[in-house]
Point group: C2
């Protein structure tokens, strides 16, 4: 097993011409990322790639060896541009065809009469995949090894994550705390860097914002260690007070 796999991390592959073309705003990364934070899995890379077999196979085969978990979104519907399931079967050199259990679920969901070719296509996947149940619209997702294939429609994807919890072995929950202050980054860059240098296991991000006409900076402290976050938080609050900078949120 690849050594990096022992890190409790994940990547997402968004299979979606509609995201690349700028037509659709992706929102699934935020959903999956927040869910992973709670499970103690760190999202470390996202790729958005076109709906082509080569790009899916190459990207999935590259990333599934680097990350402990890999999630794909999109391309598991009934139309010609839905080629994720077939591509995943090819990536793993597995048989692609009707998945017995998925077929039964879909046949029951639509009723025998209305179970047409398009709908049947949604039962086609690597035949030995494990299913990811879909409480909102019938058609299941699936996983093969550490690759989890989810739909692109945000509400459906969201409804399927809960059922996945027992398949993910996370680490310590990733916690965060935010401080927002009425300042500009250049005023606090030095003091902030000094705090960061003291806490190597804490990730401190600094993000300027413009809110209701006000300019400010948010400091986001992330770590699995609550004590470290609290201590770090205190030191940032302290230097903001020393500099007489107004704290908006802490």
């Amino acid at each position: 097993m690849n050594k990096t796999k022992e890190k409790v991390n994940a990547a997402i592959v968004i299979i979606g011409n509609e995201i690349l073309s700028g037509r659709t705003q992706d929102v699934n990364v935020v959903t999956i990322s927040k869910w992973l934070n709670d499970l103690g899995v760190k999202l470390e890379e996202v790729r958005v790639i076109p709906d082509t077999e080569d790009s899916i196979i190459n990207t999935v085969n590259e990333l599934r060896k680097i990350f402990k978990y890999l999630f794909t979104t999109g391309g598991i519907g009934p139309t010609h541009d839905d080629i994720t399931s077939k591509s995943i079967a090819k990536a793993f050199n597995m048989e692609y065809g009707y998945h017995a259990e998925a077929y039964k679920i879909l046949e029951k969901y639509y009723g025998k009469d209305k179970f047409n070719t398009g709908r049947k296509k949604m039962a086609m996947m690597p035949t030995k995949a494990s299913l990811i149940l879909n409480p909102s619209s019938g058609a299941p997702g699936f996983n093969v090894d550490n690759v989890f294939c989810l739909p692109g429609v945000p509400s459906i994807l969201k409804s399927m994550l809960g059922g996945l919890n027992n398949k993910i072995k996370g680490g310590k929950k990733i916690l965060n705390k935010t401080i927002s202050a009425q300042t500009v980054e250049s005023e606090i860059a030095k003091a902030l860097e000094q705090v960061q240098n003291k806490f190597k296991k804490v990730e401190i991000g600094s993000y300027p914002f413009f809110r209701q006409g006000k300019i400010g900076v948010s400091f986001v402290i992330r770590s699995t260690e609550k004590k470290q976050i609290d201590y770090c938080h205190k030191q940032i609050v302290n230097f903001l007070k020393e500099k007489k900078i107004q704290i908006i949120e802490r």
Copy 2:
């Protein structure tokens, strides 16, 4: 020169722990993608990576050889987590230091008295980079060869794109047309595939939606050839009418 470089395509690298952590919703992909469509440049890949030197250097060096244009967003501010400029210099084996022109711009923008260390850091980049002017907040972006480094703050990024138009040599403008209809994908999958098979130079995407309680599907036709789009559009409208499916938008 790499052969694939002759394609008028692009990739984006989002340098941002805040996107990976789920704290911030990226909106820059949509902005850049739409701007590229108008310039006739096809966005073909997006990667979101952490704010670490290794990941920036490796990703940039991989993608700049594959794509004609590469855009990075984020990490060019004054704080400790802003390491894009330094990493790009390393990726290109170029000298990193004060950029004479950027230094002058920033000194003038802030005034000599207020031009502190944090602000000066924003003038540090590959010393031989070309600048990308920033009409909204002073600090310029820059490009080295085909790699264009932009800020992460959406409003600032947006304001800087216009000034870049003359540096991008695009192809034919990428056009699109959307038809939305009250149907489900499985009902039209076969007919749609037949249309797609007739038009190999047109990209037809099919996207289910739930809008104000109504279920529907949007068909998005993309191509640089207006005639092809129109003809394809007509054929989709025709089969929808034949199937007595209500067209919401065309």
